[in-house]
């Protein structure tokens, strides 16, 4: 057995000390510095002596070993009975003696003599330490168990990138490195086992042969940190000799989230294994990408929405590129940013104001430049749900009244309502004795409200309001367009409303859910009696009058409300109207019950007619009754406004995906729910669902016909979809009318894998540095001599201890050195 008592590093240190001491001596000698010369000679001499002694001792021991045994291991042992602290004290005492010698010999001006004195003292101290510590060399014949080297090759989608057009992909480079490393693998296998894996979104064992083949990389993530942890868990503590990683250095997951953080350091040190890394890429890639798109999934209508995007440029010269924001495929903003050169990324911020409530697809894109490595990362999509931050209600009243006051109070106390009220407080019929400057009246802003700002409201509530005198008649067409476009209109009765207000024959009349009588004597178009309205079957289930969940309880609640008083008479329900309340005694000319409250859909909007101005009695008057909380009036209007704006919770047909965005391959579920015209679950009815890309005007790519269960629900599972934004549309028949519901969702692109395609060796360097491994750079193969953890000794067959301290020569040598030093000191006059 070949013994090497000092390892390579110790030998280099000793040689370095000797050389340094010699150089220092030379310099000190030229400067006539006696002290440093002596110390240098002594140190250098001791270092050289140690090197010579190691060689002599190793050869002597090797020569004495029995040859019949195949010795294959050795180690130092200390046989002294002293404790650890006692040994430390002994070493400290030896060091102190040496220091004393340094001081005691300071008077000696002859450098050679002083160096000799120090050498003798040092040698004697070493001998004494040997005797004190009693070192022995244990030579053994042992059996070792081979441990394992894990070779991990990145299989993520970014490895499919070729830095140069027509050049090898990163996966090709990794495969070539595997093929070129067969000699290394063979050498490692002489004492160890080598396991091969791929990693991306998971860790998979593969064969060396498979890795040597260039395969398309498919993983949608580079979970390197997670892969290393998973690998560590596969092996027992001493089984893992080391890890070799071949990657482009683009990590997602834990290492990407906090590369420089304490968690990463803890992860890497927790591996307890060296990780050697090979950079399987080049830095010459050209790419322009929308690396990130940051936008809240929820936005508010008519409120500024911020859309932020990160544009990255790799391998491109400094240039200005356009960045485009599209909403549902329509360009809404465009700006330009400067990227490239030293500016790898730029942040773009768009501020837009969504006008429409509902789901929208936002897309931020940059142009595809010539020679780009990746074309699919030049655009990013997001699905945003736009909702109302607050319901904007315009309340217009022909005169102050208890009904007006009750609604204003209810809406003002609702934090979800943004209320603008305009009341006619005085008319020219009224006495005007007071100068205008002593009054707080302002003119009715007809043009501002109906000509300019109407579209900014969600619902208009006209209470006992006569439009004619205020110049609104020319704007009634706009009011009709407002409703057709999705606005809500509620018209509340009174002596200035409906036929009494001259609505008949105007565009306003066409919006209403009632057919008006022509204007005429008040007695012919109004009634002033008090009455308890009749609630027809539809009204009992309609969401506007749903005071209680249970239909019976709800009907009882409706019956318990105070009576209404006064009624605007009409010819009957209008086309497509739903009558929610009827007069108990009054009849239309057709003999039908006189409607008291009715609704209808009109285009995308809805209208509500309340043919009395006494619903305020459901508030304060009801509150005067025992056990009534007086909330019915506020509840009624809350539900009426929500119904008018088509609150999705009150829609007949709903279609909802189980998520807004899906990762590639994740199953998608669409849930449909249909309530009939009577607001009962449409059990057994069918709903047609079709699916297509939301950003392109292309035919649907998938269709399904769903049959609803007893609760009016059904679910659909579309097939796996390619990345993109999709629009699912459900269609059903509701009492002869076709209704539909739409849902948007997103299938994400290849996650974040290709968002930053530029290879980066920084992470690989960090991993190797933190684990005492080697970063091999873009090496073409793995070196044979990569360091790994030593093999684990599992059995000792024979052992032999060679005690250095028990050699009499050691004692004699120590005593001889001491005597020689004493003699020399005496002759030098130092004693």
């Amino acid at each position: 057995m070949e013994l090497e008592l000092f390892d390579r590093g110790v030998r280099l240190v000793l040689a370095g000390v000797a050389v340094t001491a010699a150089l220092a001596c030379g310099i000190a000698w030229r400067r006539r510095a006696v002290g440093p010369v002596a110390v240098g000679v002594a140190l250098g001499g001791l270092a050289l002596l140690a090197l010579v002694a190691e060689q002599l001792l190793a050869r002597a021991i090797a020569a004495t070993l029995p040859t019949e045994t195949a010795w294959n291991d050795w180690r130092w042992v200390l046989e002294s009975p002293w404790s650890r602290s006692a040994r430390a004290a002994g070493i400290a005492a030896a060091a102190a003696v040496l220091l004393l010698a340094l001081r005691d010999t300071a008077r000696e001006r002859r450098p050679v003599r002083r160096a000799t004195l120090l050498l003798l003292r040092g040698g004697a101290c070493c001998g004494a330490l040997v005797l004190f510590l009693a070192p022995a060399l244990e030579v053994r014949q042992v059996a070792r168990e081979p441990n394992r080297i894990a070779v991990l090759v990145d299989d993520s989608r970014s490895m499919s990138i070729a830095e140069t057009t027509g050049g090898p992909t990163r996966a090709d480079r990794a495969a070539a490195a595997i093929r070129a490393s067969q000699a290394a693998f063979a050498a490692w296998r002489t004492t160890r086992r080598v396991d091969f894996f791929t990693f991306s979104d998971g860790l998979l064992p593969v064969s060396e042969t498979e890795l040597a083949l260039s395969r398309p990389a498919r993983g949608d993530a580079t979970l390197l940190g997670e892969a290393l942890q998973s690998l560590r868990a596969r092996y027992e503590a001493h089984e893992l000799a080391g890890i070799v990683v071949l990657s482009d250095g683009i990590a997602t997951g834990k290492l990407a989230e906090d590369a420089a953080g304490a968690a990463t350091t803890e992860l890497l040190t927790g591996l307890d294994a060296q990780v050697h890394t090979l950079f399987a890429a080049e830095g010459t890639l050209r790419d322009l990408a929308v690396a990130r798109l940051d936008v809240d999934e929820l936005a508010f209508a008519r409120t500024v929405q911020t859309v932020e995007a990160t544009i990255t440029a790799t391998g491109l010269p400094t240039q200005e590129v356009p960045v485009t924001l599209r909403r549902d495929g329509v360009v809404v903003r465009e700006t330009r940013v400067t990227v490239g050169g030293n500016r790898e990324s730029a942040r773009v911020t768009f501020e837009v104001v969504p006008e429409r409530v509902g789901q929208q697809v936002l897309e931020v894109s940059v142009p595809l430049l010539a020679g780009e490595a990746i074309a699919t990362n030049n655009a990013r999509l997001a699905v945003v749900r736009v909702t109302r931050d607050r319901l904007r209600v315009l309340q217009i009243a022909g005169r102050p009244s208890w009904d007006v006051r009750a609604l204003r109070g209810a809406l003002e106390s609702d934090p979800n309502v943004d209320l603008v009220s305009f009341f006619i407080l005085r008319t020219p019929d009224d006495i005007q004795l007071v100068p205008p400057e002593e009054m707080s009246l302002i003119p009715f802003p007809t043009d501002e409200l109906f000509g300019q700002e109407l579209g900014s409201f969600d619902v208009v509530v006209m209470m006992n309001f006569e439009p004619g005198p205020y110049g609104i008649a020319p704007y009634l067409d706009q009011l009709a367009r407002f409703v057709v476009g999705g606005g809500g209109l509620a018209v509340v009765g009174g002596d200035l409303a409906f036929s009494s207000g001259g609505y008949a024959g105007t565009p306003l009349a066409a919006l209403l859910p009632v057919t008006l009588l022509p204007d005429g004597p008040a007695a012919a178009i109004t009634s002033t009696s008090e009455f308890h309205p009749v609630v027809p079957a539809l009204g009992q289930r309609h969401p506007i009058l749903a005071f209680r969940l249970d239909p019976r309880e709800n009907l009882a609640r409706l019956a318990s409300l105070p009576p209404l008083e006064g009624q605007n008479l009409v010819a009957g329900p209008g086309p497509g109207a739903q009558v929610l309340l009827e007069h108990p005694t009054l009849r239309t000319r057709a003999g039908l019950p006189m409607p008291v409250m009715a609704t209808r859909d009109h285009g995308a909007g809805r209208t509500l007619a309340v043919l009395t101005d006494s619903t305020w009695r459901w508030g304060l008057v009801a509150a005067g009754r025992e056990g009534d909380d007086g909330r019915a009036h506020a509840t009624f209007w809350d539900r009426a406004l929500r119904w008018l704006i088509r609150d999705p919770d009150l829609d007949h047909l709903r279609l909802e995906p189980d998520h807004t965005a899906y990762d590639p391959g994740v199953p998608i579920t669409l849930a449909a729910r249909l309530y009939g015209a009577d607001y009962l679950p449409a059990a057994g009815a069918t709903v047609d669902v079709e699916l297509g890309l939301a950003t392109a005007d292309t035919p649907p790519t998938w269709r399904a016909k769903l049959t609803l269960d007893a609760d009016g629900h059904a679910h659909a599972a579309p097939p796996t979809l390619a990345p993109g934004a999709y629009r699912a549309v459900a269609r059903a028949d509701l009492a002869g009318h076709a209704i539909s519901a739409t849902a948007l969702f997103l299938v994400r692109a290849e996650s974040a894998e290709l968002s930053r395609p530029a290879a980066d060796d920084a992470l690989l360097r960090q991993i190797s540095s933190a684990t005492a491994g080697q970063f091999l750079g873009a090496a073409s193969s793995l070196p044979l001599d990569l360091p790994f953890a030593p093999l684990r000794v599992v059995r000792v067959d024979r052992r032999l201890e060679i005690e250095l301290w028990s050699e009499p020569m050691i004692l004699l040598l120590t005593l001889g050195l001491l005597m020689a030093e004493w003699t020399l000191r005496r002759s030098s006059g130092l004693l």
């Binding site: 204003r408 005085r426 400057e437 509150a623 005067g624």
Partner: protein, 257 residues
């Protein structure tokens, strides 16, 4: 409201629009605006029985409000108490607190939307009626309501229809109008200046009381305050809407020399 819209609505002129004549005819009597006079045990007959009729007549003539002119007198136990969102309590003598059940009813009335105007006809500050009225208001104030306190000069009561500088009545004893507010709404107003005394007119068309010290101008201001109170009862804080504030500020600046 967006600043844009607000801005649009603020630059308007000061003249009210004309509308063609149409005889007001409410759909029902309960829709008409009335002020019910509240009577309490121990308070005696109303000291100003004809005050509300004249105020309502003025409201009818000066505003678009549809008014019911019939006199309504109520007690706290009456079934129709909650049919009248505005109550008027006038007195000139001390009175005991109502029984707990009626007190609770008044508290509920105020909490759920009612408004009580308390008017001292004693002709002095801090009289027996005033003391009793303050005790009543303290006992009937809704839970969580602020205590009776003077209203600031820019309160909506002083600008809901007329721009009122001082809350005078038949007398001008107190420069302040006191009120209890609950959930941002005035639920009770208290004055010691005898508003009813300024409003009251006998069956022959003569004013029942002289206004001191301001004479007929002071009476006019008392009517303006009464009309403003009616507007607050019917429109709540309509005039404090942001769309109106700059306009009102502008109007007030015109009056500054």
């Amino acid at each position: 409201m967006s600043p844009t819209r607000r801005g649009l609505l603020l630059g308007l002129g000061a003249a009210a629009l004309l509308r063609p004549t149409r005889n007001a005819r409410a759909l029902g009597e309960s829709s008409r605006f009335r002020i019910a006079e509240l009577r309490l045990p121990g308070l005696g007959p109303s000291p100003r029985p004809r005050a509300l009729a004249r105020l309502l007549w003025e409201i009818d003539k000066r505003t678009s409000i549809d008014v019911g002119l019939e006199r309504v007198e109520l007690r706290l136990g009456d079934d129709t108490l909650f049919h009248h969102p505005l109550l008027y309590l006038a007195g000139d003598r001390a009175f005991p607190l109502p029984p707990p059940r009626e007190l609770e009813r008044l508290r509920r009335y105020l909490a759920l939307g009612g408004l009580l105007l308390v008017d001292s006809a004693e002709g002095r500050i801090g009289g027996p009626f005033d003391t009793s009225a303050r005790a009543l208001l303290a006992a009937a104030a809704p839970t969580g309501a602020a205590p009776l306190a003077p209203l600031p000069a820019d309160h909506v009561i002083f600008q809901s229809f007329y721009l009122v500088e001082a809350p005078t009545g038949r007398l001008a004893l107190s420069p302040e109008l006191e009120a209890i507010e609950h959930d941002g709404r005035v639920v009770a107003v208290h004055t010691q200046n005898d508003l009813g005394g300024a409003w009251a007119r006998d069956d022959f068309g003569a004013w029942e009381h002289e206004c001191h010290p301001g004479g007929e101008r002071q009476r006019e201001l008392a009517f303006r305050l009464g009309i403003n109170l009616a507007m607050v009862a019917l429109c709540l804080d309509y005039k404090t809407d942001q769309v109106h504030v700059p306009f009102l500020l502008k109007r007030r600046r015109w009056k500054v020399p």
